[in-house]
């Protein structure tokens, strides 16, 4: 039997076994050292998880409308599974590839069992795994940031059940996967045991998040703050440098990968990481978010259309926490999430930045955390602040009455709106036109193998399963203008194409794509599904003399 000496804190203290000296504030509600062994935590978290999975999973394939980006990532994941490299077209460093490599892993078994299921609608089910992990991590993180149990549950519910979350987390977006890794990084950074390797792991998870979706870079400072606050003075320098090193080293694997492929710097005849980064950094701005005529304003409104509680409430929560920094323990404990929201808000407020619709995804868990934290802060203020030992009973009663009134009012405001939003999500079928178009192209076109179709990314995999040649037979519409490897197979431009599937995305983007535009102009609709702006038209190219469309 051997062992080390009993612990002491400093040489000045008498010998005794005691924990390392505390730094920072004493927490009001210390989380249990092992959440796993806390029965009530497990029950609450498990019940919420079931609710989240049911709401998010029900009708997942049919709502919301298939997005072009989902198609892009899933198709590239398909290419990874098929051993075709990182993409079926030339991989051009638009995003780091780790995101769809993970999608490929997630969908590996289902697509192996049934190859035809590898379509956007069908594979959304894989995102449930990501949502489930993220939701549990929000709960654990909330507990580790010393929120009381009910507030942690609130954070998890806000994150998983907000109609905005339900819509966005159902979709196959890289951001959802990156959020999962970011949450893992925060959870590890806030590890109650302050273990060196937990912090190291936080660095690894952060790097994975960045390599999944590069926008996660902006969240790293907030992660750093969290780690700093949660590490101990005596071991901090090792913990923090370890985490930073891990993050940087893993992050460097991306440029290293490009270097090994000889594609780090721009050069003749090949894509490069440099060009990819340049493209992302110089994307045309979408205007100031509060300018009513700007694209950013439209994006903001598309978020608020689904839910106002989480984005605006979370923002208010963040402001409250930052404002009460000096007095509130909760505010200091939630410094990391609040800081994250601050960073993301400032970035969204750039006068002419590019604001994609997915931008809000990375903010969702932190909005949920700060909103829950703000609520906990208010609850504490109402129930406990300035409460003396001998407080009169009616005052205490008044406190509880006030808290109950506030809770009921909040519930009365939120529940009906969320019920409507989530009800739409579990009942609406938004993708019938897509399915019908896919079906039409399968049954009505005689010879799919020799037919060339321009489609948007969301429909691409459907047609691949229907027998069209991936890449040059069924073509991502914009590749007809932007990818030299594709355009050189189309010497006659639009005349070399047989069909265009004009979905809303294709019509919107055709403005800047001459080949696609010409193909639409020289074609007539042979089938239309849906009505109005959201309709999908299958248009056959009309070439004089060579009308070999193959319509029965």
């Amino acid at each position: 039997m051997t062992s080390t000496l009993p612990a002491v804190t400093t040489p000045k203290v008498p010998a005794q076994r005691q924990p390392a000296p505390e730094t920072g504030s004493a927490d009001r509600t210390a989380p249990p050292s092992r959440l796993r062994s806390s029965r009530s935590d497990l029950l609450l978290c498990g019940a919420l998880l079931v609710a989240v999975l049911v709401v998010q999973g029900w009708n997942i394939a049919d709502y919301p409308t298939l997005s072009d980006d989902e198609g892009t990532y899933l198709a590239q994941a398909w290419a990874v599974q098929q051993g075709k490299g990182l993409a079926h077209y030339t991989y051009w460093y638009d995003h780091p590839p780790l995101g769809w490599v993970q999608i490929a892993l997630l969908t590996w078994i289902p697509s192996w069992l049934s190859p035809g299921s590898m379509t956007v609608g069908g594979m959304r089910i894989a995102m449930l795994v990501v949502s489930a992990v993220s939701a549990v991590l929000v709960y654990v993180l909330a507990r580790r940031l010393s929120l009381p149990r009910w507030a942690a549950g609130l954070a998890m519910a806000l994150f998983g059940l907000s109609p905005l979350s339900v819509v966005l987390q159902r979709e196959i977006f890289l951001d959802n996967i990156a959020v999962m890794w970011t949450l893992l990084a925060f959870t590890l950074a806030a590890s109650p045991s302050r273990h060196l390797w937990h912090h190291f792991g936080a660095g690894l998870a952060a790097a994975t998040a960045v390599l999944t979706k590069e926008t996660m870079l902006v969240v790293l400072p907030a992660l750093f703050v969290t780690m700093w606050r949660h590490s101990h003075r005596d071991t901090r320098k090792f913990a923090v440098t370890g985490a930073v090193t891990a993050c940087v080293l893993i992050g460097f694997s991306y440029p290293l990968f490009a270097l090994l492929k000889g594609e780090l710097l721009p050069g003749g005849g090949h894509v490069s990481l440099w060009d990819g980064v340049k493209y992302q950094m110089t994307r045309p701005g979408s205007g100031f978010i509060l300018d009513r005529s700007s694209g950013s304003y439209g994006v903001l409104h598309s978020w608020l259309y689904y839910d106002r509680v989480l984005p605006l409430g979370g923002l208010a929560g963040a402001l409250l926490l930052i404002a009460t920094w000096r007095w509130s323990v909760t505010a200091r404990a939630l410094a990391g999430p609040a800081f994250t929201i601050a960073i993301l808000t400032v970035l969204a407020m750039r006068p002419n930045g590019y604001l994609p619709a997915m931008y809000v995804i990375q903010a969702l868990p932190f909005l949920a955390l700060v909103l829950a934290g703000g609520t906990a802060s208010v609850a504490h203020a109402v129930l406990r602040r300035w409460r003396a030992d001998g407080e009169k009973r009616y005052v205490t009663g008044g406190r509880y009455a006030l808290a109950a009134v506030l809770a009921v009012a909040a519930g009365a405001y939120v529940v009906p709106r969320w019920y409507d939003g989530d009800h739409t999500a579990v009942t609406t079928d938004a993708n019938a036109p897509y399915r019908a178009a896919s079906k039409w192209l399968t049954s009505e076109v005689e010879d799919p193998k020799d037919t060339r179709v321009l489609v948007d990314d969301a429909l691409w995999l459907d047609l691949v399963h229907d027998g069209y040649r991936p890449g040059l037979g069924v073509i991502w519409f914009y590749k007809a203008d932007l990818d030299p490897a594709v355009t050189k197979t189309m010497p006659h431009g639009w005349k070399d194409i047989d069909y265009v599937v004009a979905s809303p995305t294709v019509r919107r983007d055709a403005v800047d794509l001459p080949n696609v535009k010409a193909a639409i102009e020289h074609s007539t609709p042979v089938a239309t599904f849906g009505t109005g702006e959201d309709r999908i038209e299958i248009r056959q190219i009309q070439t004089t003399g060579t009308a070999d469309g193959g319509v029965r």
């Binding site: 062992s3 010998a15 090193t245």
Partner: protein, 409 residues
Amino acid sequence: MAAFTLWWQMHAWRTPEVLASTRFSRPDGDEHVSFSLLLPARHEQAVLDHTVQRLLESTHTDFEIIVIVGHDDPETTAVAEDAAARDPRVRVVVDTHEKKNKPKAMNTALPHCRGDVVGVFDAEDQVHPELLAHVDHAFRTTKADVVQGGVQLINFHSSWYSLRNCLEYFFWFRSRLHLHAQKGFIPLGGNTVFVRTDVLREADGWDPDCLAEDCDLGVRLSSVGKKVVVAYDSDMVTREETPGSLVSLLKQRTRWNQGFLQVYRKKDWKQLPGFGQRLLARYTLMTPFLQAFSGVVIPLNAAVALFLDVPVGIAFLTFLPLVTAAVTFVFEVVGLHDFGKQYGLRVRLVHYLKLIVGGPFYQVLLAGAAIRAVWREQRGRNDWELTSHVGAHLTRAEVNRDLREDVPA
């Protein structure tokens, strides 16, 4: 393998609680243990008296100092006799072995020990006056059979290799040894080590034929389940200096490595009860050789990946060892900062640069020592290299330094 080393190297800093537990606990002023402090000295008349005087300043009240000198070393003997005449707590034992080495010297003195606990120091050690009181307390509160205190090389500014050498000690005593103590397999250090006299006699003292007799003793004692406690306090460590030249460092390392090999071949570690412990033993004793191997392989890998035409995936894999190496580097830099802070030493930018630039060269040195050790062991040359060539091509100071038995790092 680099990842394992890294994992263990950072043991003490895993959590603040672990870090706190690696320190000596504060003595309560009570004294129950008497000490016999062995001080083997050979051609060390220059420093011996100072060391003895400093030991005599200890706050502990119940100890004796036994200076062990060789019969062929009249100068050192004279200094020792002089010290003994001035203070009754000092005694002199003369070692008359024809071929001399440290374990033989200490075995000679063992029967003369009167204390409950035998402590070992080297002739040029700077020992903290309060160390004995702390060790006494540790023995009483933990019921330990062995207490290992910290040893630290301090002269990091002397040369590029002394910088790395200091840091090696820092990581070994500050962190890694605690892990070994916790796991129940520990190669002890050569000095500032305290063993209960009866336990030591039961184990028949040190192995006179082993080149790493300190490591061997630790392995044998932990194999029979004796309780070993390690404590490290930057105030309380025994301060030493690095070998004076690259050649002597290389020779010292060769000797340790050869000693490790011998301990490995003695197979005492096979008596360890746990499979994990035996694995740790096997791994620890083989470390120098694995280190040598990886030192060669890592740069080769990166070169292959960059310059030969291999698939991207495979090229990627070859960079993995480099990642662990880079992490180790960073932790070393942070360790150097911590080292400077704990000992109140000023570490300048140039030292950090030296640390990083010197890294690969130090690896080469370690690899060289490992290969040399294997070669010497193969040819059956297990004499105390420098003892047999006294003064042949080294200054006396260097010889003395090499005679000193250090802990492996």
